[in-house]
Subunit: 241 residues, 2 copies
């Protein structure tokens, strides 16, 4: 049975039992949004980070790496955000990826599924580390030094790379509303985390004037009923943490 046949069979058969293992301040919200877009029921199982902001050890009962998000689909544990998105789309909602016959968009989708966590997020992580270094509690007369270390890393390596990546993402939306064509796909769901984070944190170069397409795209996804529904569910859960 090919994957396409499996997907067709799964789509037509009874609904799967899905649990989403959710952790605060993680990238799990994307998966909640995806599940809402697919119209699938799921149980949200909530875990809270420890005081040192680590994932709690309990997550290791699902997978030895103990990171969220994790989904459990009919007993099958799936980890790694991009793999979760691909797995769910392939099996339950192939409409959320371009058709293979639409070659250019299909290639873009497959590329972006790897690009988001494999290329873009490492630079976002480094930007976060530079910020942490700048804020390291050190005596005030030392602060210029730790600042210099962080600035060296930002200016020579992190910022130029972030700029070229966001410029490229902006260019992808020049003639189309979503990252792999006219319709929302898993690539938009993967990219939502870094692009929304850029808006919140990268004041330096990331502005509405420079990135009008990315700003409109964020408005467009936030207006989707599924996005709102996921946000409401997660907010309700977070209020009780």
């Amino acid at each position: 049975m090919t994957e396409t046949e499996a997907a067709a069979r799964a789509t037509s058969s009874s609904k799967p039992s899905i649990t989403l293992i959710w952790l605060n301040d993680s990238r799990a919200q994307r998966i909640a949004w995806l599940l809402e877009e697919m119209g699938l029921d799921y149980e949200l199982k909530v875990y809270k980070r420890t005081e040192s902001h680590q994932a709690p050890d309990e997550l290791k009962k699902y997978h030895p790496l103990g990171k969220a998000p994790i989904v459990v689909v009919d007993g099958q544990v799936v980890v790694e955000s991009a793999f979760i998105v691909e797995y769910l789309i392939d099996h339950y909602h192939p409409q959320l990826k371009p058709a293979e016959s639409d070659h250019k968009q299909y290639m873009q989708y497959r590329h972006l599924m790897h690009y988001t966590e494999g290329s873009l997020m490492p630079f976002m992580l480094l930007a976060y580390v530079c910020m942490m270094i700048r804020n390291t509690p050190v005596p005030f007369f030392i602060r210029p030094i730790t600042g210099r270390v962080a600035d060296g890393l930002s200016k020579s390596f992190v910022n130029p790379n972030l700029v070229s990546n966001y410029d490229w993402l902006e260019s992808l939306l020049k003639d189309q509303p979503f990252f792999a064509g006219d319709e929302l796909t898993g690539a938009d769901i993967m990219l939502s985390f870094p692009i929304e984070s850029a808006q919140e944190r990268m004041g330096g170069f990331y502005s509405k004037e420079r990135y009008p397409n990315l700003f409109s795209w964020v408005e467009r996804i936030k207006a989707r009923p599924a996005y709102k529904k996921a946000e409401e569910k997660v907010s309700a859960v977070e209020a009780n943490l």
Copy 2:
């Protein structure tokens, strides 16, 4: 036409024209190894990093992000290491992935294709950044401070995560010679870069005693004729850089 059919057709048809855009000190060697495993001819097009260790601007003529490796297959530009590996295997050598019917190994393969660059490499990158911070040229009386910043990041975040990731990888080889079963797959090719780098750079926790399975695996892949052939080609090219 499904992807499986496309793969079958491509495998049986005439050989594709392949160019591998190669950059020194990059992860492009993996793709050379893969192409040798597949028995495909390819042209190696060599570029050298600039003095500030960046990819040269010429790479942007292939793709706006200007990073290596890039492969051009019959005019189709493919970027992002894991996507290149998946693309080549799907189209020209499906033997390098587990059969879909071998569910557990197929899931492992798909997971590891995302895991290597999406989860493991960011920690490797942070370990490298910590090393750079420790070696930042600062006056000697300041060095303890930059050292403290780097140590803080290493001890609280980077090292514990590297240890749990390598422990997990070690466990995957407990009962099988390769990461997704009894045969070499694209997952081994993806993992070769971080695992070989760990052996070279992570003296602190990464030892033969602690990771005997990973050390044997490295010996096993290095003994493969295709690995040796790629290494020879790349060495010959590097000697002329």
